[in-house]
Structure formats: structure tokens, C-alpha cells
Symmetry: C2
Amino acid sequence: MRFELTKEFLEQIRKAIQQSDLDWIDKNVFELHYVDIAQILDELQNEEAKFIYFQLEEEVQADVLMELEEEVRDRFIKSLSKKEIAEQLENLDSDDAADILYELSDNEIHEVISHMEDDEAADDIVDLLNYDEDTAGGLMQKEFLFVQLHWKVGQALSEIREQAKDVEKVYTIYVVDSLNKLVGVLSLKALFFSDPDDFITDLYNGKNIISVKVTDEQEEVIRLFDKYGLVSIPVLDYQDKLVGRITIDDVVDIIREEADRDFQLATGISEKVEENASIFRISRARLPWLIIGMLGGTLGAKVISSFEGSISMIPALAFFIPMITAMGGNVGVQSSAIVVQSLAKGNQFKSVFAKLGKEVLVGLFNGLICSSLIFGIASVFGTIDLGIVVSLSLFVVIVFAAVMGTLIPLILDKYDIDPALATGPFITTLNDVLGLFIYFTIGMLIYS
Amino acid sequence: MRFELTKEFLEQIRKAIQQSDLDWIDKNVFELHYVDIAQILDELQNEEAKFIYFQLEEEVQADVLMELEEEVRDRFIKSLSKKEIAEQLENLDSDDAADILYELSDNEIHEVISHMEDDEAADDIVDLLNYDEDTAGGLMQKEFLFVQLHWKVGQALSEIREQAKDVEKVYTIYVVDSLNKLVGVLSLKALFFSDPDDFITDLYNGKNIISVKVTDEQEEVIRLFDKYGLVSIPVLDYQDKLVGRITIDDVVDIIREEADRDFQLATGISEKVEENASIFRISRARLPWLIIGMLGGTLGAKVISSFEGSISMIPALAFFIPMITAMGGNVGVQSSAIVVQSLAKGNQFKSVFAKLGKEVLVGLFNGLICSSLIFGIASVFGTIDLGIVVSLSLFVVIVFAAVMGTLIPLILDKYDIDPALATGPFITTLNDVLGLFIYFTIGMLIYS
């Protein structure tokens, strides 16, 4: 029952476009959900996509446009005349319209806006463009429902009826005073089930209203949605006047993107790449970490080479090099992952030292278990001496890695660098070099 | 303005509880948002938390209860009598009530249910307990708004008014036929602005309704919310009858949990642990991967020891061991991360071979660049021969790691094992051993 895009279906669509078979397209494409139509357009050539797009109803056009993949949408928009772009913007929510304009040059924006017929909508969009993309102002839309505190339900209903023409999704009705300052919220339910002569003052909820300022950072917006389980949040200007709202659908997208980015950083991919990006772009996203890893490896080679004498004398020392580096890396990444996740959730650490102390204890505990095991293995493998060197080094390396893994993301965060960077090859590489140094130093001490 | 829980404030609350200073608590605690109250209870002793909890209004109690940390809530519930639990359940949404009962034994559930006064609510909860926790049935709630297709707006309004007493958040009104089968949705907006004599048939939207079956897996539910940007989804039984709905707040929680879990798996943490879990529990969550890493390291030692002769002759070979293993690990994790993310988004690969081909090409490209660099470095470091051995091995290892990194998550996924497992130390360890084998084999061939 659910739509799945197949190669065969795509071929049929292509054929129908070539033959301008509108009947077939109408029956087979226009009947689909707009998300599925967007998915089809993503796969078509730009001219083919345009053909389908301009046959759609205006409302569906707006929905489809915002569902296109970013690259596809940018290409599509850039192939339109400024007048055509202006026409498309008229159908969009103000935040979506602003998102599209962000991709254009100042001159192009100016020209597009001048073609817009709805002056109020144009003003809203221009206003949104003033905010930084990563702030509440950059995320908000200008369309929302509000009532004035002194209104009766009857007036509120007729005013809202008017406002609702521009508001696609209704979550909450905001209540403002005569100066347009936010004083509370009104649930649709409350309004719905009241008498026209009831006063808003008696119905609204003015307690514990969660809101953000236009200048609040995106991370703070997400933290509040997350913490308070919100579906929308009102946005206030410097004077606490209500100027917009942010809805959960936009926030879910950002949560997804941030989780993806953390995951990619943790796995050594330095920039976001689309599934079907070119091989060159994928390579470029991964190369930086590989080269850092290589330089780290070179440093590691340098460390080992300075102990060349020891290796010549006891070649068995070389056997456990991969274990020492691997364990240092694993422990370091484990520790930093926990810290990064806590920081991402906006948890403030009671104290860096408490956190560090805990990680050191976990390190001591795991180090003890792992070293005991490896003492047995290495002794059987080589000599008791080798067992002592390997297990002692492993213990020190594990504790050391736990400390580094905890401290580095905390330090990065303090200097406003994304702490997720620390979970990537960065910490592994650093621990490799440190681990080798510890290992061979202990080896030299025991064997000499 | 925003509430931040401080140690001092917590101390004040504790003192107020000891002195049963309800005035102070009323002014300083009960005025807070329920999420913040829950956060306070999380930090209190169970008896202290109980004192506060039972002073709250019933509605707030329900909200606070569901916001408590899982461990705290379980402890709290277990300290209540069965009758008290039953009373709490009456105030909860059916899905939340079922979540709480999932933690109890069959006998306890039976006893709690027998204490419930609202038989209909009790039936709903018992019904929900029949579904697997990870399916749409296990996620849904029984409270939703619906109208019958043949009703007029007037009747719909009065019926919905009645239903709305049980429904906290109103998103969509579902439209069913006389057999209770879902035929469409009605926006609140449409209902809101219609005449009492209008027919639902003329107002509802019956096209492209996205729904799930009770038995659909949680992943499918998330995929649909994600793809179609939903805020709620209707849940149907085998006969397409409407039996419940799932709302976005529950789904956001799961998206977060899944992202966290993938991240933890990728960084070598095998089970979910809370921020303030005991040191023993944290250690236990991390040990499995460390021990796998150690066994891998032992295998690596075994591989190197079988080339002991080569190392004795050319100790410089040992210098580049960490680089070879590190690069194999990095490339493997990069490749598998991309595959895991695609799989998590429900993307179906056009073909395994296409994906593999692309990763191999990226591997060849990155391998070429990295090997050229390292040829220079290793040659300066040692001899041209060493440069050839290291760069050739690195090239083969990178391509090999790209292949393994792509294939392993795909294979795990095929056998219904979480592919995110592959991004952890698993793939690193495997690549370590393989890389060492490739490196020393090439070394032996070139030097002999």
C-alpha cells in the first residue's frame, strides 16, 4: 500500500513527460503524497522536474518545494526567473521562504523581493533575513495565532479565523497584552469549548511559559524543546514582544542533523556529505582525518625508532604494539563519547574534577581487569618479564587514555570548539603516540 | 529567568521538607514547570520526593511522574502500595500507564488493575500490555479524537467535546466509517471554521493518509514520522479499524535514544548507562569491547610474532606498525559509519555492489594520496625499500578496510543484527589483524 519509488515507475514517468501524457501523470503522480512527489522530482532531470512541478496545484507546489533535497532545490530555484521565484515564495511559510533566499546573492534577493505582490509577506521575509541562520530568529516563522488578553472568546474566534488563513499548522494560540508582549498561551481546546462571551483572561494559562529570544542560539532552542517536550515555542524580541514561533517539525530536522554530525565526527568524517555525492566529495570529507592519522602514525614511528635498540634486543616488544595503541584508542573514545553526549544534552558538570575522578576510577577498574588478563597471555606468549612490561604499560595507558578522553572534550567545549571533534581519530591518534611512549619507556626500565 | 537547579536550592527544599514548611514549598516549588519539579524529585531521597509529590495537584502529578528519570520512577512506583499505583494510573494517558506496568510482574499488574476504578481506562491499559513494547501497538495511546463520516459538524463538535476530556494534546481528528475503519483526517481548523449543518463528508481529507498497523515495528513508525514530517499517526488493527494514535513527543524521545545508542555503539559502549550510574555499571558497559580489543591485540601479537625473523633483520619494520593499524581502523570506521547511517534512515541500497563499488573507488583515491605521502616520509625515515613496503601496504590496507567497512554492516543488517555494532571496536580490531598480516607479508616479499 505504501509508495516505494522503483526504477520502473521512474521510467514510466519519464516517458509520460516526453509524451506530455498529462492524463497518466495526473492519475499516477498527482495522487501521491507531496513527500513522495518530491522524492520523484529529486530523481528527475531539472527540466523534467519543472514540467511536473508547474502542473501541481499551488499549495502542493509549496509543500513539494520544501521537501526537495537541498542540492536539487537550489538547482531548481536557480533555473527559475526572479519573477517565478517571487511567485513561489508567496505560497511558502516565511521561514521557508527565507531559507530559500539565504542561498541567493544580495542582488538576487533584492530583485526577487521586488517582484513579490504581497507586501506584508515580503516584509516578513526581509525581516527574517536579518537574523543569523543558527539563532531562534533564523529558525522562526512569522505566521502564528494570537489573541489579545482583553478580548472575549467571540472576537478571538473571528480574529483567529482571519489569521488562520496564513497558518498551516495550529499548535498553540499565544496571548499578548496591548503592547504585544507575550503573557501566556491558550489551548485550542479551551477556546473551542468556551462561550463567545467568556473572557480570554479567564481561560488562558500564564504560568511557566517557555519562550526564547530572537538571539538565542539554535542549541538553546533544541535544549528547551527537548527538556520541556514542546511542540512549538514562541520567539520574543528584546522588549519581550512576540515576533514569531518555531515548530517541532523544524526542530526534529535539526536534532537529526546534529546527531548525524556528531556520529560522523566520531567516526572521522569532517564534513556532511549526501548519500549520492560524488566520489571526489566523499574522499575530500574523509581525507583530513586520514592525514592527521598518518601524521600521528609518523610521530609514532619516530617514538618507536628512538627505542630501536630495545626492539633489536627483545623483538617480542614489537608484538604488543598494536594492542597498546588499540586499547589506548578504545578507552579514550569511550570516555570522550560520554562527555560529548552529556555536553550535547546541555548538562552542566557539577565540576570537572568530579567527572574526571569518576572516569579515572572506571579506568583504574577496567585497567586492572585488562592488565591481569594480559599478564597471563603475554607471560605464556613470551616471558614473565614481557608479561610485566605489557600489563603494567596497558594499565598506565588505560588510565591515561581515560583522563585524556575526559579532559579534551571539556577543554574544546570551554573554548567553544565542537567537543564531538574529540571522539574522532583525534583522540585515537594522540593516545597512540602517548601509549607507545609509555610502553617503550616501561620496557626499557624493566629490561635494563 | 529560566529555572536552573542549584545545590543551594536543593538544600533549601530539603530543609523545608524536614520542617514540613508547606508555605515555602508552595511558593518556591509548586510554581515551577512540571519538568523542573521532576528534575528536583530526581535529586531527592525517595521519601522526600513522595512528600512533595503527594502535595501536587493530580494533573501535575501525572505530568511529573512521566518526566522522572526511569530509575527514579521505578523506585518511586515500587515504594507505593498497589492501590496507590492504581490511583496514579487513572490520571495517566493509557500508553504512559502501560509503560509503568511493563516494569511490574504479572501478579503485581493484576493486583494494580483490580484496584482501578475507571473500568474503561483499565481495559485500555490491559489491551496495550498485549503488544510488544517495540511495535506501533506498544507505542500507541488509546486516547484520540474521532468523528464518524456521516456526522454533521454540530454532532461532531459535541462528541469531540466529550472525547477531549481524555485527550491532552489535540493534533488531528480522525474520520472513521460506521465499521470504525479509518477513512481520513479532519483538521481542527476545518472543523473550527465550519457551520454546524455542514457534513463531515464535505470537509474531511481522505487522500494519502499515512497510518501504521499495530504490529509494525518501531523503526517503521519512526521512518514514517521522519519521511512525512508527521506530528501524529493513526494506528490500525488487522481489519483496518482505528485503535490508537502515536504522537510526536514519544517519537522524538525514541529518535534521541536511537541516535545515542548508535553513537555509544560506535564508540565502544555496549549498554546504555545513565550519567550518574555507579562506577561498576559504567565499567561493565565498557569492558566487553575492551576485552574484544585485547583479544584482537593478542591475535595481532601472534601475527607479528610469526614474522619475528623479519623484525630482527629490519627493526624499522616495527616503526610503522601503529600507522598501518590506525589507518585500517580509521578507513573501516568511516566506511561503516556511512552505511550504518543510511541503513538507520531506512534507505534501501539499490544494490550492495553499487555501494561497494563506490566505497572501493573512494578507498583507491584516498589510498593513493595517503600512500604517496607516506612513501616520501618512510623513505626519508629509512630506505627506499621501507618506503615501498609501507606505502604499498598502506594502499592495500586502506582499500581492504573500505571493503570490510562496507560489507560488515550490510551483512549484520541482513541477519537482523544491529549494523551499528560494526562501527565500534569490532571493525577496528578486525582491520588491525588483517592490516598487520598484509603489512608483514608485503615486507617479507620485498625484502626477500
